[in-house]
Amino acid sequence: MSKKQVSLFNDYTKGVWDQNPVFKQVLGMCPALAVTVSAMNGIAMALATTFVLVFSSFIISLIRKLIPSQVRIASYIVVIATFVTIVDLVMRAQFPELSKELGPYIPLIVVNCLILGRQEAFSSKNNPFRSVLDALGMGTGFLIALASLGAIRELFGSRSILGVQLLPDAFEPWLIMILPAGAFLTLGLMMGGLNAMILRRKRREEADILSKHIPKTYVAASEGQEV
């Protein structure tokens, strides 16, 4: 791949993991916690958010040079709120059930720190194409986070994932998983677990580098063994 391609590719992928909005940047936490009682809700929320994110990024990137910086935030908010209203209207018209489930959290996409944050950090400085890629990447990352959180909570809280029962009837569902406390705890434990894995890998890599670049005897000596 050419250098340019690599950087475009990176525009997309960074949001998926390295800068995952939920796990790494701790943004957009409210919807992440509130709606993830099931995988389906998480996915729907993430898709709605991604829709708003992508379109607002596109529009804002297009008009970025026309907006005076003093009314920057206000303009972003209006653009975002417009798309959120569209999502909300469409959902209420076409998917009344889902709209009822996600309740007041759809309008709150307006203030989702993730969306505003991306406009400030990226779309206001880059061309529409890259902004859309960035938005798609962040959206994917958000989707991964919300879907996995929703899946775990649904599995233990209702024995199923995406409505498919996976655990036997003998398994008593843990009600706490679909309560607020369960949301915080699950996400906290997930993040801790991920961090532990990352730390472990880092430590192992460091050990590898050490053993490759430092003469054996030195390593042994530093570990206090007789050489």
């Binding site: 009682v37 009314v71 303009s75 209006v78 679909i178």
Partner: protein, 188 residues
């Protein structure tokens, strides 16, 4: 000054475009949303009145009340949305009644925020079914931990006593209101 004008102009343009766009989409969505809402209400009206075929709104009372009719247009009872406090928040339900208000045909919970899996058992049949054909004179009563012995009693759900009582209370509250209003209005 120039920047202020630029600011105002930008915001106005964005506002107008956004407002215009939304007005268009809303124009498309509003009837659909209204239809959805109407469908939901209708579904609920007939859910608590399985026999009924048509309905009409009763205008004499300052709240929603539907008189349901059979094929021939004869009144067969009332469908009646009412709400009150549950364990966590508001519970809104539809109550089906016979014309003399002495018997409940069925109930349906429309909106609630009770604890999933616990308070939400009020939505399910072991509990809800108890209201089919329940007598309402002098009022609906509840018992805890034992099957009901009287015609106007329901048994509360273990672990969700409060939600169960809330349903009973809402029914009684609505009935009381209805009785006074209909007695005055002389609807029969």
């Amino acid at each position: 000054m120039k920047t202020i004008i630029a600011m105002l102009v930008t915001l106005t343009i964005i506002g107008v475009v956004s407002g215009g766009g939304l007005a268009m989409i809303s124009g498309w969505a509003a009837p659909l949303i209204a239809a959805n809402k109407k469908a939901a209400t209708e579904r609920a009206i007939f859910l608590v009145q399985p026999e009924a075929k048509q309905y009409e709104a009763v205008a004499e009372v300052p709240y929603e009340l539907y008189r349901v009719l059979d094929e021939g247009g004869q009144p067969t009872g009332y469908s009646f949305p009412w709400e009150g406090n549950g364990f966590q928040g508001n519970i809104r339900m539809m109550i089906g009644l016979t014309p003399d208000l002495a018997t409940i045909t069925a109930i349906e919970v429309l909106e609630q925020v009770e604890t999933p899996g616990l308070g939400t058992m009020i939505l399910e049949d072991p509990f809800r079914g108890q209201f089919n054909g329940l007598k309402t004179e002098p009022q609906v009563d509840w018992v805890k931990g034992a099957p009901p012995t009287k015609e106007n009693e329901v048994q509360t759900i273990t672990g969700a006593t409060i939600s169960s009582k809330a349903i009973v209370d809402i029914v009684n509250d609505g009935l009381a209101r209805l009785r006074t209003d209909l007695a005055q209005g002389g609807d029969k």
